[in-house]
């Protein structure tokens, strides 16, 4: 039993220590920075290409390639929440909301004694009136036979830290809710086609996609600046009623609580394939997106559609950076038995000989629009938490709750007023204000 009690005491001592919390922040900060420096979510081979083998191995083994969803990251947030809870109850509340108690005035760094002529009771009333007039909240207590007056400023703001900590907990709860109940995904939709979103069963048809790009002359050459991406869609949600909508960047649409965003666009290709000079109509109907593979039936050969080139320089035949379509081509890789035989830039409507009697022509390009969708039931909590946290920060940083311990004792002549001050942020910040207060008190009582 005592072993368990000792263990608990040890746990409370460690997790309730601000320096322990700060050490957790250090680890949190380092893990966060790892994710900035190391590209996230790449294929393991990318790390072996970018770093030396031992470092790449460490990145992959320690999940630093997806650090924000790694056990380390979730674990450190968990430890911070635990520490925050223990600390709040064991340290912050007792320290910030101390009971009214007698103190040794001359042992406090900020203190002063004033000798005042007059009856102690009258002086006490005079002192109380002085502080009340300046907005201090007064409470009187009889402690150890002496009459104490406790004066507080911004007493309510002592809870600022609690508010900040609560805000952090609410944000954490909101993000957990997304993990537990939310989902997100990406879906490309080719012009003229419909897609059903697996999680929501919503149907989206892309009627038209339009983009605007302006060439702009800058000091470092022509820059092709995207100006607008617009998708005209028809959507069918739970109600079953089709609705026409427009999706643009910064203007998502909401279908039954799930939001759909304009995320990307690209060019799909329809291929015309012939085998021994005869068209193969079965392959003509599908639109291939960048990165997709066209398998030639009954053959070990295939074509990978790598990338669309909107503009090929007519003079040199080389791809240009111009993203507007003006003499387009496709970059295609021919594969046999899974291995690459070669890659070529194939202009639209010209063909590539794949061997074995197969010829492939990129016949037509079709624009597709990439949508991102997301259902996040945690958003209201994260939003509320963020504002609570912010309010807590502002209260904690801009209000300085101070407490004065005031005692008026009979003196050989008249009365002796003792005043000591504490604040939630130590004494330095309050040194001068306290000095001024004492000067004013002296002026008011003499």
């Amino acid at each position: 039993m005592t072993a368990v009690r000792n263990l608990y005491a040890e746990f409370v001592r460690t997790f309730g220590n601000v320096l322990f919390a700060v050490s957790l922040f250090v680890v949190w900060g380092i893990l966060t920075l790892i994710g900035v420096v190391v590209d996230q979510g790449q294929d393991p081979s990318a790390y072996f290409a970018a770093y030396s083998a031992p470092i790449a191995r460490a990145i992959v083994r320690l999940s630093f390639d997806n650090v924000y969803h790694s056990p380390w990251y979730v674990g450190i947030i968990g430890l911070i929440l635990l520490s925050l809870t223990v600390c709040t109850f064991k340290r912050v509340i007792p320290a910030r909301l101390p009971p009214l108690r007698a103190v040794k005035i001359d042992a406090m760094p900020l203190h002063a004694f004033l000798d005042v002529a007059g009856d102690p009771a009258a002086v006490r009333a005079q002192v109380a009136a002085f502080f009340r007039k300046r907005g201090w909240q007064l409470r009187e207590r009889l402690l150890g036979g002496a009459e104490w007056t406790f004066c507080d400023k911004h007493n309510w703001a002592r809870r600022g830290v609690l508010i900040a900590h609560l805000g952090f907990v609410i944000v954490a709860a909101g993000t957990t809710l997304y993990w537990a109940r939310g989902f997100s995904g990406q879906v490309p939709i080719v012009t003229g086609r419909s897609v059903t979103i697996p999680q929501t069963k919503a149907l989206i048809r892309l009627n038209r996609f339009r983009y605007t790009i302006d060439p702009i002359a800058t000091k470092s050459g022509i820059v092709y600046q995207p100006i607008d991406y617009v998708s005209h869609v028809t959507v069918v949600g739970k109600s079953g009623i089709p609705k026409n909508e427009v999706v643009r960047v910064n203007h998502p649409i909401d279908i039954d609580g799930t939001l759909y965003y304009q995320a990307s666009y690209g060019f799909g290709i329809r291929f015309a394939v012939t085998h021994d000079g005869k068209p193969v109509p079965a392959l003509a109907d599908r639109t291939y997106l960048e990165g997709e593979t066209l398998d030639l039936p009954g053959s070990a050969r295939s074509i990978v559609y790598q990338r669309f080139v909107p503009t090929v320089d007519r003079a040199t035949g080389a791809p240009t950076a111009d993203p507007r379509v003006n003499n387009p081509a496709a970059i295609l890789t021919v594969q046999a038995d899974g291995g690459a035989l070669g890659t070529a830039l194939v202009p639209m409507r010209s063909w590539i000989d794949v061997g074995g009697g197969w010829r492939v022509t990129p016949a037509r390009y079709v624009l597709y629009s990439g949508f991102q969708y997301r259902y996040d039931p945690g958003i209201p909590l994260v939003g509320i938490g963020a504002f609570v946290l912010l309010a807590g920060l502002i209260i904690s940083f801009y209000l300085l709750p101070a407490r004065l311990y005031v005692r008026v004792d009979p003196a050989p002549v008249g009365a002796r007023v003792g005043v000591a001050a504490t604040t939630v942020k130590g004494y330095d910040l309050y040194e001068n204000e306290f000095a001024q207060l004492v000067v004013q008190l002296r002026g008011a009582t003499q």
């Binding site: 920075l33 900035v36 996230q40 600046q225 965003y261 991102q372 994260v382 040194e431 001068n432």
Partner: protein
């Protein structure tokens, strides 16, 4: 020369001249130099805001969406926050350092001036007008805290050096060490507000000042260590809520533009790392034994993280936020 470029040139010239005046003031303590430097700082700052407005009027494009405009606001806000602090706590002596950094930021910013570009679709949002100025202002507040933590550390380590020297002199029979404890507090004062602590916490510097050491004399004229620590704290107390609001508004914008309020994009993640460092600062500052020397170092590290978040991520790491993509 177009009006905005003329204003930019005026601002840079005012900062360079103001920095010179205030550096000389730091050593000479000539009142008129302080007033001259302060006037130049204010003139430069006003010219900068006028420049940003003129650019917006001339081009119709929100001027903060590239590094040129954003560094310009950074310099202007740093100087503006510093002017506020300097008036409130009489800290003009530090203006030389700050104006020099502002001038460098501006001069560097002009190398990123690509001319007028319409913003890419994700930046065409009213959030650009809210989020960017807030984030840049938080960086500016952190610059001010960085400058004063630098001065804190300078004074702290100088005190240690003087104490060691006094001890060594004492060991060889000198009386310097004996006088160190009861030397008068800094005789010469640059006139800053006494509200910022008057405790004599640098006895070795004070003793050396009394002994006629000129370097110690300059150091003694700086605010006391707790006063410097308080200034750093107050600047961080401006920066931390601002960067928190910046992260929150950024998340709201991201939710609208990219579909998720948090994408672990390098920029937002680097901002989170800086936020964590300043959170450490604030927590350590609640501990008596950690306040001062250690928190000043945390503030220095925090500002390094801000520089990384601001420039490093934009220039070296491409992501959704990079101005290059």
């Amino acid at each position: 020369m177009p009006i905005d470029q003329a204003l930019m040139a005026i601002a840079i010239a005012a900062y360079v001249l103001g920095a010179l005046a205030l550096v000389v003031y730091f050593f000479s303590r000539e009142e008129w130099l302080r007033n001259f430097g302060a006037a130049l700082a204010i003139a430069g700052c006003v010219a900068q805001f006028a420049q940003l407005i003129a650019r917006f009027e001339l081009t119709g494009v929100w001027p903060l969406l590239n590094l040129y405009g954003s560094l310009s606001l950074f310099a202007a806000m740093s100087v503006a926050i510093f002017i506020g602090f300097a008036f409130r706590y009489n800290l003009w002596f530090a203006g030389g350092f700050l104006l020099a950094i502002a001038a460098i930021a501006l001069a560097y910013g002009t190398t990123w001036n690509e001319g007028t570009m319409p913003p890419v679709p994700s930046l065409q949002s009213y959030w650009a007008k809210i989020h960017v100025p807030i984030v840049v202002s938080s960086y500016a507040a952190f610059l001010v805290s960085f400058v004063f933590s630098g001065i804190y550390l300078l004074k702290y380590y100088a005190e240690r050096a003087f104490a060691t020297r006094a001890l060594a002199a004492g060991a060889t029979g000198g009386a310097a060490a004996a006088t160190a404890g009861n030397a008068p507090a800094a005789a010469a004062n640059l006139g800053f507000d006494i509200s910022l602590g008057v405790r004599n916490d640098t006895p070795a510097i004070d003793a050396a000042t009394a002994g006629g050491n000129p370097v110690a004399g300059w150091l003694a004229a700086l605010p006391s260590l707790p006063a410097l620590d308080t200034i750093v704290y107050r600047a961080v107390a401006i920066g931390l809520p601002l960067i928190s609001i910046g992260i929150i508004t950024g998340a709201m914008w991201a939710k609208e533009a990219w579909g998720a309020y948090w994408q672990w994009d390098p920029k937002e993640t680097a901002a989170l790392a800086s936020w964590i460092i300043y959170l450490m600062y604030m927590h350590l500052h609640t501990r008596h034994g950690w306040r001062g020397l250690r928190t000043s170092w945390v503030s220095v590290i925090g500002f390094a993280s801000i520089v990384f978040c601001y420039l490093g991520v934009n220039i070296w790491i491409s992501g959704l936020h990079s101005y290059k993509t």
